[in-house]
Amino acid sequence: MTVNSNKLSAKDYATDLDVRWCPGCGDYSILKQVQTVLADEGVVKEDVVFVSGIGCSSRFPYYMDTYGIHSIHGRAPAIVSGMKIANPDLSIWMITGDGDALSIGGNHLIHLLRRNFDINVLLFNNEIYGLTKGQYSPTSPKGKVTKSTPMGSIDHPFNPLALCMGADATYIARTMDRDPKHMREILNSANGHKGTSMVEIYQNCNVFNDGAFEDFTDKKRKAETTLYLENGKPLVFGENQNKGIKLDGFKPIVVDLDSTSVDELWIHDESDKIKATILIGFFSDPSDLDFLPRPFGVFYQKDRFIYEEALINQVAEVTKRKGKGDLDSLLAGSNAWTI
């Protein structure tokens, strides 16, 4: 990936095609932020590839004036893997949704994460199947009434980031469509991470699942229901930043800062896997008695070797040891004879 010296603007990364998401869809906001981030970082357009599967979010590549593949359902992780092996210099962005990544493509996703290709994954989670017009998804809450679950869903939903942690992801973050500034920060940070960067984006489907994340976006409530993570900073939230999270052993508890000193609070450390796992477990509903605010930001980040580099190193190592392959001697093998 090279950086452009002639600074481009966000608009330069847009194609001239009409964007065909429903008016009011959260995807618009994500598209804009992605274009902005590429412009901010001056990424050269021809070095960028957007790859998606199937679903509303997967139309994304058509709107980016970069290279792109709108592929088949769930398979984008496998496509980007092969692409990255073929050309490790590309900046590859994988666009997926909750159905695409976690249902039909679940297997590919976990293997992408454990192999740790240097790829940015944006998982648009709207907790519904939009393109097929409103069936419940693997992230829909239990009891969700949809076209395919008229009596309410009986599926237990995934906590997507817990799944990613289980697959040994090296970068795990969450942001939301309604907070463009935060999204931009996270996208910048994800793009900077060497390895598979998993960014879950809460995205509102205003047609089939409007308000799915209202608990975390409603202006009146969000201060109490969300927790913004900053590396090295204490976990503080609340209307007047008057609440904090403290660890009692491995148990997180909410404390009032009027009676507890900030010094006693949990300090966020992106490199701490155990704490990240606990944080990812903050997944309860505001109506639950043991509710903990939903975290946004970077949960976990770790440097680990990336697959494509390891592969290239092996090729280089063998070539150094055996010399560059000679086709004629390969064809002749070691037991040839002449007639």
Binding site: A78, V80, G325, W337
Partner: protein, 614 residues
């Protein structure tokens, strides 16, 4: 003592034993040695799907048949002249494959009470009841002789017993007057630094050889002179290995880096194993999490400009179907190799069949044609793998290469080419804007082939996808006329490839023959030999063999129509017959075998004779 030397034109040997007895290794070593001596050789390994099936049982028997001779051979032989059995189960499973008055060489230690019971012979030792008129039985206590040879080796009984296949090999080298050198150097390279194992195995190999020399039981040795093969440089090669080398050669000649993505499956995995050894050719192998991922990784690599290959066997190809469809609509080069095995479903993983032909032609949703080509023998896998890559890259299309378990595991001498003599492979990569409207990814040349702009190329950014696309821009299009046009143009692009492939010619016989035997794939050897034999007997029979199944050679229809009768032998339930009938309205006669086994020459001959006018 004096031993007589008997001349033989060709000999078929069948090695059989428990799947842990090293039968495959023994067979391969004998083949390599005798090929190096100058014989023509064809082999047919036949083993159970289980890695170590229950010892001593008929189900656990592993076999390796080979035919070698002093003239051209095309098949591993029908019935064996010599049957080598390591235990009673091996005899039970294979005695029917021995010619009458053939030789049985039996490890008598494998005929003890326990083995006889496990193999179902009961109390009676068949070696003592088989009529000497029918077969010539030689009992050797191979286990005991091996143990005696290694009594001072310091090895444990298990390790000692494991080398008894070397005794067999040594003995057969004596019987056919072959040098031990090839196997000695194989042993050295296999055990590398483990000198005690090298010494032990070579000692047993020699013990077997000397046993033949000194034992009074054996009075005859056999002489099979080198074959009069065409001049050239030869090596012995197995089908899967030839496929792998064909891919490496195509990568080197095209200048495109090779990405091979696959998921382990029998009998295709050996292609992956072979390629993984050749990283110094810039070969990148990727063992994906599943069949679908393997195909998708290949598509991703192809989009990024690599020579991308995926391979599997029937059930794996079924899983790749949707991705192959994607590569059809994207119009990206992709080679898909199907090493066919018995189906449906898991079927017969280690047995051969040709029953994925219709899957290759039609096994995708929508109008989704790919090129389909079939190799006909182990060494032909090299040519066809090379050709598959060439067509995929030159015509921007997926190409399905059909091989099968029979040729994949079989071996033969191969007159390998010089790399300089391999045909050029020209790709369609571009760095130029091709119209005044900007870069049009689906603008086609005179052969209906689009250009290949890979990521990283300035100003050629474009998006492709599985949705139907506009004829020029590649943008999503739901226009009814455009869809029909695109379906037709993708099909026409494939059809046009027939201009680039050779016309089909008769392998044998003439145009006025009473019957044409039309084959495809690994039935080649049996058909070729059957037609040759019958022609020598004065029958008017012709043989043609199809490599290109889609598109078919442009003269095929005319050729078929010039014969009164067309017989199509296939290892399936008449799939090619179905294709030929519907394409050319010819009432081709099916001849089918669906037993997981190749045709014997006799079977084909009998059917031809039945077809001929009386």
């Amino acid at each position: 003592m004096n031993k007589t030397l008997e001349q033989k034109k060709e000999v078929t040997i069948l090695f059989a034993g428990d799947s842990g007895d090293g039968i495959q290794l023994t067979g391969n070593q004998f083949s390599d040695t005798t090929a190096l001596f100058g014989n023509d050789v064809r082999t047919f390994p036949d083993f159970p799907a289980e890695i170590r099936a229950p010892q001593g049982t008929v189900a656990g028997v592993s076999g390796f048949q080979l035919q070698f001779g002093s003239s051209d051979l095309y098949s591993p032989g029908d019935k064996a002249d010599v049957l080598v059995v390591m235990n009673s189960a091996a005899l039970k499973a294979n005695l029917h494959n021995l010619k009458s008055s053939g030789i049985v060489i039996a490890n008598s230690a494998g005929f003890d009470k326990k083995n006889l019971k496990l193999s179902g012979y009961g109390d009676e030792n068949p070696l003592h009841t088989i009529s000497e008129k029918e077969f010539r039985i030689h009992e050797i206590d191979i286990t005991k002789l091996t143990r005696t040879a290694l009594v001072d080796s310091g090895l444990g009984t298990k390790e000692v017993d494991r080398s008894k296949n070397m005794f067999v090999l040594g003995f057969l080298y004596w019987m056919y007057n072959r040098s031990l050198a090839t196997t000695e150097s194989f042993i050295k390279s296999k055990f590398k630094t483990k000198k005690h194992l090298i010494d032990a195995n070579i000692k047993v190999l020699k013990a077997g050889y000397h046993f033949g020399d000194t034992s009074e039981t054996f009075t005859s040795r056999y002489d099979v002179k080198p074959a009069d093969l065409p001049k050239g440089n030869y090596r012995s090669i197995m089908g899967n290995q030839a496929t792998a080398l064909g891919l490496v050669a195509a990568s080197q000649k095209s200048g495109l880096e090779l990405l091979y993505a696959s998921y382990p499956i029998t009998p295709a995995s050996d292609i992956l194993h072979e390629l993984a050894k050749h990283k110094n050719f810039g070969v990148k192998t990727f063992q994906a999490e599943d069949e679908i991922a393997a195909a998708c990784a290949a598509v991703g690599a192809s989009f990024a400009g690599n020579l991308a290959i995926t391979a599997s066997s029937g059930p794996g190809i079924a899983l790749k179907g949707e991705t192959i469809g994607l590569s059809v609509i994207l119009e990206l080069p992709l080679v898909i190799i199907n090493v066919q095995r018995g189906g449906p479903s898991t079927g017969l993983p280690t047995k051969t069949e040709q029953s994925d032909l219709l899957q290759a032609l039609y096994g995708r949703n929508g109008e989704a044609q790919t090129v389909v080509i079939a190799a006909k023998s182990p060494s032909d896998c090299f040519d066809k793998a090379y050709q598959a890559c060439k067509i995929a890259v030159e015509h921007m299309t997926p190409v399905m290469l059909l091989t099968d378990g029979y040729m994949a595991n079989g071996s033969e001498p191969w007159a390998f080419p010089k790399s300089a003599d391999l045909p050029e492979i020209i790709n369609h990569k571009t760095d130029k804007i091709n119209s005044d409207k900007g870069y049009l990814p689906y603008l086609r040349d005179e052969n209906l082939v689009r250009s290949w702009a890979v990521p990283g190329t300035k100003d050629l950014q474009h998006r492709v996808g599985g949705l139907e696309k506009d004829f020029l821009t590649g943008n999503v299009s739901y226009d009814p006329d455009n869809h029909e046009k695109m379906v037709k143009v993708r099909a026409a692009k494939i059809a046009k490839i027939s201009d680039f492939i050779a016309e089909i010619e008769l392998e044998a016989g003439t145009i006025d023959a009473d019957v044409l035997v039309l084959g495809w794939g690994s039935t080649f050897g049996a058909i070729k030999t059957a037609v040759k034999d019958l022609s020598e007997e004065g029958y008017k029979v012709a043989h043609a063999h199809l490599t290109f199944i889609n598109p078919m050679p442009r003269n095929l229809g005319a050729m078929l129509k010039s014969f009164k009768k067309v017989l199509i032998p296939e290892l399936n339930d008449a799939q090619m017959v179905h294709v030929i009938r519907s394409k050319y309205l010819i009432d081709a006669i099916p001849f089918n075998k669906i037993k997981g086994l190749p045709f014997s020459i006799e079977e084909i001959k009998a059917k031809i004779l039945e077809t001929l006018p009386s």
